[in-house]
């Protein structure tokens, strides 16, 4: 079910000229993906795997559209090489809106196994990382998107279960 926060996130993407979004779904992100699909300003192309999605994003950027990838934190285990040798090496601005599964509130034990590695991998890669734990932190998204475009880096926005449950 779509919530106000889902519309707010997509509005921020549009306001920051994000014209291309690729997604690999997570149930926490279902509302955002549903809103995306209905917005004419954004071309939404689902990808099968997150490294493929980052290839699409790199191409879209070179084609003239600012990209964004929406995915689950388990994907961090998939995309290390792509982040280092494509997104970082070619200096492509790429905000990654990430559902941070495996944090407090998680019901699936296995999700915790990647949660404990998520920040460590991002830190190892030198990726600016922002952790949204309370619903009102969505206010920071606009600034993070501007920061990403300015520094031409991948950035990670980790959104945990508490964020989604407390967001309006």
């Amino acid at each position: 079910m779509v919530k106000e926060v889902d519309r707010r996130i997509v509005d921020d993407l549009v306001a920051n000229d994000i014209g291309f979004v690729t997604t690999v779904p997570c149930k926490q992100l279902a509302g955002v993906i549903e809103v995306l699909q209905g917005r004419d300003e954004i071309l939404h192309v689902p990808s099968n795997k997150e490294d493929e999605g980052m290839g699409l994003c790199a191409g879209a950027y070179m084609g003239g559209k600012r990209p964004c990838i929406i995915m689950q934190n388990t994907a961090i285990g998939v995309v290390v090489n792509t982040l280092a040798t494509l997104i970082q090496y070619y200096q492509i601005p790429l905000p990654m809106l990430i559902s941070y599964r495996g944090e407090v509130g998680e019901k699936v034990a296995c999700q915790v196994e990647m949660a404990v590695h998520t920040k460590a991998i991002l830190q190892q890669l030198g990726i600016p990382t922002y952790h949204f734990h309370h619903g009102e932190q969505v206010e920071e998204l606009d600034g993070i998107l501007k920061h990403t475009a300015m520094c031409k880096k991948p950035t990670a926005i980790l959104t945990d279960a508490n964020f989604w449950s407390t967001a309006q």
Partner: protein, 188 residues
């Protein structure tokens, strides 16, 4: 005909086109044979040439040729489903299929054995899939450029490599001059 000869044969066809080229020897060969600012060379990240090319094609209207290899497409096989389900008339995927991982010493790929990438592409929903021999590639590519339908070309060639230097141009230079060409073409 090996890959470098195939690439040499298509130089006149791709001379004025946006080209995204696969990692390793294909990019090194293309760089040596006919560098141009409208070429984007992958220096890392095996498997994503088709995806990067599709991204460029989705974002603007100029034609884009993604040159990929059989081994790289096998690495990112689901790309064919994404391509099929997001068809763009300005997108051409050229799979140079030599049945081997050329850049790593010509180890055989499954595409050189039982797997047909053309059949996989069709099964994924790609509607215009052309199979050709290496010597026919330039003509097939020209036909695709002249047409108005997304095309996947699977060009069969022999396995084998030539000595080529690595690309020393910086990734930022490669990207920025390519983006300059994209902008110039879309503005004119």
């Amino acid at each position: 005909m090996i890959r470098s000869q195939l690439l040499k044969s298509i130089l006149p066809v791709i001379a004025d086109q946006l080209v995204v080229c696969n990692i390793g020897l294909p990019s090194q060969e293309l760089f040596m044979l006919g560098d141009q600012p409208n070429n984007f060379y992958m220096l890392g990240t095996m498997g994503l040439s088709s995806s990067i090319g599709l991204g460029v094609a989705l974002a603007q209207t100029e034609k884009v040729i993604a040159i990929d290899g059989d081994g790289s497409v096998l690495t990112n096989l689901a790309t064919l489903a994404t391509i099929a389900n997001n068809p763009r008339p300005n997108y051409i995927l050229l799979i140079v299929d030599n049945g081997s991982y050329g850049s790593t010493g010509d180890q055989p790929t499954y595409a050189g054995r039982k797997t047909s990438l053309a059949a996989v592409a069709r099964a994924c929903g790609c509607e215009n899939v052309v199979e050709c021999e290496a010597a026919e590639t330039a003509d097939a590519l020209q036909t695709a450029l002249d047409g108005d339908q997304m095309t996947v070309i699977v060009a069969k060639c022999d396995s084998g490599n030539i000595d080529v230097p690595v690309i020393e141009m910086s990734p930022i230079t490669i990207r920025e001059r390519f983006m300059g060409e994209v902008r110039r073409r879309n503005e004119s």
